[in-house]
């Protein structure tokens, strides 16, 4: 039970400042990246008209997100599609990684979710400035009344925090629940059910929610 508080880290010094890297999170993220690179290589190796299972799975994923992005953004070019689809793929497999023994979810670390949330924030606002022009972008903060400006600004920051913390809280909560329940019932029967619920079911839903919200925030900025 004591392992709840401890985080294995690599600490080293660069130019007088201390850099702290969370060892477990990094390695798990690399594993997820390796998985998707391998999947992509295998799925697109021989593209036939009648696809093999890997290729159909890839087409399903790509097709679904392409439709969702096209519905939300109404753009003729698919500029945002790779970014959005990658976020979903990364978070989907990351959330499910805890089911495999000796592996754990990198999204259990607030750094992972917060960094992708900030990335989405930057993409959304950069697109907003590029599409609407700087003046109109600033004016939109004063909608509907001038006094709403500080609230709108805080609201934008709140969006980033809410999507990041939502995914983090769900994953962290799930892993702690599994840890505590396994400790209480001596790891009999129940833990695989919990892993299936938290890792597979809730992990998929929360990855989907994070990605959809990023997409929606980008679309709100562009329109």
């Amino acid at each position: 039970m004591e392992e709840i508080g401890s985080v294995p880290q690599w600490v080293f010094n660069i130019a007088g400042h201390q850099m702290v890297l969370n060892k477990e999170t990094l390695i798990m993220t690399w594993i997820v990246m390796a998985f998707w690179v391998l999947f992509a290589l295998l799925a697109t190796k021989t593209t036939k008209l009648v696809p093999n299972p890997l290729q159909s799975a890839a087409e399903l994923l790509v097709g679904t997100w392409d439709d969702l992005v096209k519905d939300s953004l109404d753009l003729s070019d698919r500029r945002y599609f790779p970014f959005i689809c990658t976020i979903f793929l990364l978070f989907w497999i990351s959330d499910m990684l805890g089911v495999i023994p000796f592996l754990s979810e990198p999204t259990k670390d607030i750094n992972t979710t917060l960094s992708l949330g900030v990335m989405g924030f930057i993409v959304a606002h950069y697109s907003g400035i590029k599409f609407k022009g700087f003046k109109r972008y600033l004016k939109d903060y004063c909608e509907p009344i001038f006094f709403m400006m500080p609230l709108n600004i805080i609201g934008e920051l709140a969006k980033v925090i809410s999507i990041s913390f939502r995914l983090f809280g769900n994953m962290m909560g799930g892993s702690i629940i599994i840890l505590v329940v396994s400790y209480l019932i001596y790891s009999l029967v129940l833990p695989p059910v919990l892993y299936a619920f938290f890792g597979l079911f809730i992990g998929t839903i929360q990855a989907f929610v994070f990605t959809m919200l990023t997409l929606v925030y980008i679309s709100v900025q562009i329109k």
Binding site: M1, A158, I176
Partner: protein, 402 residues
């Protein structure tokens, strides 16, 4: 005063809180079920015995959370915890709060599921058997927060606190009780409303069973998220609560528990009614099934923002640095920060849920206007969250400026 007396006193207070609060929810839920069962029977006299059977089954499931509360209360009455150190007193009170309040929402929610199941069966008698299955699934998922509360109660009761000084760890334990107790109310009640709507939709359109069950399960799962946050904070308070510190630390721990506990009520209920409305809309207009899932998830997710603010404030209060002198104003400021964010997240969470629910309904009426309705919903939710942002600002001011 001997530690033994303090611990026993705590145990008895905890037992009282546990059974007292725990009896409310299940009773109300069962009463709702029974009342609507009667109404259904009066509509279809020939189905009196299957309805009565379904009613009894539904009531039995609604009873489970009260039985959990009874179990914890009896444990508190008759186990001898005085060997566990003086913090066991606060642990017992925390356990009583957690299980007592935690049984409240699940009991009422389970009642909603079964009442809709029986009423739906009265309108569509041929689906009786399958309706019971849907009802049980919906009720089972909305018992989850009560199960979380049971886990926290057990952890609190059977923990070993020997050698740990009374304060501030007692504050952390009571805070854990607040967090899980209040935090389970909204998710349990909301989840139950979603289950009820799925049963009603199933009665309306029996061929939509798969789609409705999926929508219900996904909606309920997302509505459990505030309870999961509450569980997270409760576990952190128990496992990583400070063993030594001054009045500042005590009040910070209490504040953290209150913040996430109260904060989860509004969002949990709001997410539940969003999911309820989504299921109802799909049953009336089956062509919106695919976009409705996405829409409901976005509405629920944005509606969870207030509870995420509460989570953030709780985490900051738990992991804060309290090196200053233990003054009464300083301590009260930390407690007030938790109270501010806790209560402050109830209204916006529930309001966002109402907005998202009506938006799902509107989507059912205008299936091709997804973009327009989603944008309006997001704007409305963002404005409704402004009071939660005020509460967050006041909490920050109380924590850092004072």
């Amino acid at each position: 005063m001997d530690a033994e007396f303090i611990v026993k006193a705590g145990q008895y207070i905890g037992a009282g809180l546990c059974m007292g609060f725990g009896a409310i929810g299940a009773a109300v839920g069962e009463g709702l079920t029974g009342g609507w069962a009667n109404r259904s029977i009066s509509r279809r006299l020939e189905m009196a015995s299957p309805f009565t059977r379904t009613m009894l089954v539904g009531q039995a499931v609604a009873e489970t959370s009260a039985i959990f509360a009874l179990m914890v209360a009896v444990l508190l009455l008759f186990t001898d915890l005085s060997g566990n150190g003086i913090c066991a007193s606060a642990a017992a009170i925390g356990a009583g709060l957690a299980m007592g309040l935690g049984a409240f929402g699940s009991g009422i929610g389970a009642g909603y599921s079964s009442l809709e199941a029986i009423w739906g069966a009265s309108r569509q008698p041929l689906v009786g058997g399958q309706m019971t299955t849907t009802m049980l699934v919906g009720q089972a998922v909305c018992q989850t927060p009560a199960i979380f509360a049971l886990v926290i109660s057990f952890l609190l009761i059977f923990g070993n606190y020997s050698g740990i000084p009374a304060w501030p760890y007692s504050a952390a334990l009571i805070g854990a009780g607040f967090a899980m107790g209040f935090g389970a109310i909204g998710s349990g009640w909301g989840g139950g409303q979603a289950g009820g709507a799925a049963c009603e939709g199933f009665a309306r359109q029996p061929r939509l069973k798969g789609a409705l069950t999926t929508l219900m399960l996904v909606g309920q799962a997302v509505a459990q998220t505030p309870a999961i946050f509450a569980l997270l904070i409760a576990l952190m308070l128990i496992a990583m609560g400070p063993k030594e510190g001054n009045l500042l630390v005590s009040c910070a721990m209490l504040g953290a528990g209150i913040s996430i506990g109260l904060g989860a009520i509004g969002s949990g209920m709001g997410n539940g009614i969003t999911s309820e409305s989504a299921c109802k809309a799909v049953s009336r207009e089956s062509s919106v099934t695919r976009p409705m899932m996405t829409f409901m998830l976005v509405g629920q997710a944005v509606g969870q923002t207030p509870v995420i603010f509460s989570l953030m404030i709780s985490l900051m209060l738990i992991f804060g640095n309290y090196a200053g002198p233990p003054t009464l104003p300083g301590a009260m400021a930390l407690l007030a920060a938790g109270i501010s964010m806790g209560f402050g997240a109830i209204g916006p969470g529930y309001g966002n849920g109402i907005t998202a629910a009506k938006a799902c309904e509107a989507l059912g009426m205008q299936p091709d206007k997804t973009g327009l309705i989603m944008r309006t919903m997001l704007i409305a939710q963002a404005v409704a969250q402004s009071t939660a942002i005020y509460a967050l600002v006041i909490a920050f001011v109380l924590m850092f400026v004072v």
